[in-house]
């Protein structure tokens, strides 16, 4: 790994830290969504666990950096030197850049949730013993999202506009990952279908670790690692095809 990729994570983290307006606004949006759902959940007399679950799923979704659009821009502007000529891998650079920025965003949102959570209805916090595993699941979730985002971004070369595909993927994440309700509450047949997709490892794994504890450790961590492997392979194959197509077509 070259110098630039090794340090990209820290550079992106610091760069995101300096974008005050963006992260303040994102925190406000996050708190507004939490307030909105706290009112919705209290009107249906849902338990506090449901709300804590939603706070974690929203954090994971809002905190993750949308690298798809920066890749889309690189391809649409035919910024081939960035893709091909730099000594470090474009794939590693983009994923690390996204991860660095996402880590800062998630940290800020988590702090916002801790400070303002009581105003939104979070009274009791989960035991501290659950947090390390939840952090690990959260990290794996961010990596899966970034890998999916990277792959969708690369598709710009063939599809011209990937915005709809990006939002389709986001909607699929909401449903199959269990954004509002944990997928444990879905009908059994549909729940099994959800576990055939990567989405439960994006939302359900970190949120249910916080709410329900550290059970199903192998499923949560092993499944996420398997999906990371699959997406790394898909992204590498797509990247190789893209570079081949650029060399052929120019």
């Amino acid at each position: 790994m070259g110098w630039s990729t090794r340090h990209m994570l820290f550079l992106a983290f610091n760069w995101e830290r300096r974008r005050h307006v963006q992260w303040i606004l994102r925190s406000l949006v996050y708190l507004l969504i939490l307030l909105l759902f706290s009112q919705i959940f209290s009107s249906v007399h849902a338990s506090e666990d449901r709300f804590v679950y939603l706070a974690v799923t929203q954090l994971v979704i809002l905190g993750c950096r949308k690298i798809t659009f920066s890749i889309e821009q690189d391809i649409q502007c035919r910024n081939w030197p960035t893709l091909m000529l730099l000594p470090s891998s474009y794939f590693l650079r983009k994923v690390e850049e996204g991860l660095g920025a996402s880590l800062w965003s998630c940290a800020v949102l988590a702090v916002a949730a801790c400070i303002f959570g009581p105003f939104c209805g979070i009274i009791s916090w989960p035991p501290a013993g659950r947090i390390p595993l939840a952090l690990l699941c959260g990290l794996l979730s961010l990596i899966i999202q970034l890998l999916m985002g990277f792959w969708i971004g690369l598709l710009t070369f063939w599809l011209r506009d990937v915005r709809n595909l990006y939002f389709l993927n986001l909607s699929a994440t909401f449903l199959f990952g269990g954004l509002i309700l944990p997928i444990d509450l879905y009908p059994a047949a549909f729940r099994h279908c959800c576990f055939l997709t990567p989405y439960p490892w994006i939302l359900w794994a970190p949120a249910s670790t916080i709410v329900n504890g550290t059970g199903q450790l192998l499923l949560k961590v092993g499944g996420a690692l398997a999906w990371i492997g699959i997406f790394c392979w898909i992204a590498h194959r797509t990247m190789a095809r893209l570079l081949q197509a650029i060399q052929l077509r120019g």
């Binding site: 307030l35 909105l36 919705i40 709809n164 909607s171 509002i180 309700l181 879905y186």
Partner: protein, 261 residues
């Protein structure tokens, strides 16, 4: 400029936009399909919620379908013909408004109709299907038609109102687009549960209650009073947005440096 010439200008702008947009028809079909799935998945998420909890302050999945349908039809109709409103922050940021300011036509209409996005047709069709599925379309078609017209006017005003932020936030296009997304997220949730601060924000700061809470409640309760309130609120917000735009225009900095003498 008279009403007749304004109307002629509008119809020409719409025709030109439609012609330009159907040029990429296969891409359009692909976009329509992905949009159907995208909105379907979003609503399926809410279906799971209403499967667990039957209603939110009287709103069931039917009202959620209606809300989602109305909101998508309204905002997408505006984006199909008036995508210029979404581009307005970039134009203000780059100092490119002169070409519109120097024309004899209405500046807001010129900016709004300068671009179109036909791909949003899929959202209009999906939205109409959702309204149909909610059962309200067949029960009260006239009221639905009125609410859609008001929703289109509201969405136009909302995009114009939020775009005005660009006059004060230099390089803030990304931020404004994020605010628009956030407003869209909040507006498409069941607003019957809102109270306190959120109720205040949705009535007086970004008055999304006039395109979510009031029209849905008007249809649900068969209340002509609430429908009239929706109409008055929408028209007042439209006038307010136009005035805000012209007020903010005083802060506009041109990108042109004039002739190099």
């Amino acid at each position: 400029m008279g009403m007749a010439s304004q109307f002629r200008f509008l119809s020409t702008a719409i025709r030109l936009n439609l012609r330009a947009m159907v040029e990429y028809r296969y891409e359009l079909i692909g976009t329509c399909l992905t949009t159907f799935f995208k909105l379907g998945l979003f609503l399926a998420t809410w279906l799971m919620f209403f499967h667990e909890y039957q209603d939110v302050h009287g709103w069931t999945f039917r009202e959620m379908l209606l809300l989602s349908g109305l909101f998508n039809v309204s905002i997408s109709t505006v984006e199909i013909f008036c995508y210029g409103l979404r581009q307005l922050p970039i134009m203000v940021d780059n100092g490119q408004l002169e070409s519109f300011l120097l024309q004899p036509q209405n500046t807001i209409l010129l900016c709004a109709f300068s671009r179109g996005k036909m791909a949003n047709l899929a959202e209009v069709v999906s939205g109409t299907i959702f309204i149909g599925l909610s059962g309200y379309l067949w029960a009260m078609p006239l009221q639905i038609f009125a609410v859609i017209i008001l929703g289109v006017l509201f969405s136009f005003s909302l995009l114009l109102y939020l775009a005005c932020l660009a006059f004060f936030l230099h390089g803030g296009n990304e931020l404004i687009q994020e605010i628009i997304s956030a407003v869209r997220i909040v507006a498409s949730q069941p607003s019957s549960a809102l109270r306190g601060l959120l109720q205040f924000l949705s009535l007086f700061v970004v008055p999304i209650a006039f395109c979510s809470y009031f029209p849905i409640e008007a249809l649900r309760q068969h209340s002509m009073g609430l429908l009239a309130l929706t109409a008055v609120g929408t028209i007042v917000f439209f006038r307010f947005s136009c005035r805000t735009f012209y007020y903010c225009l005083r802060h506009y900095e041109s990108g042109s440096h004039g002739p190099n003498l």
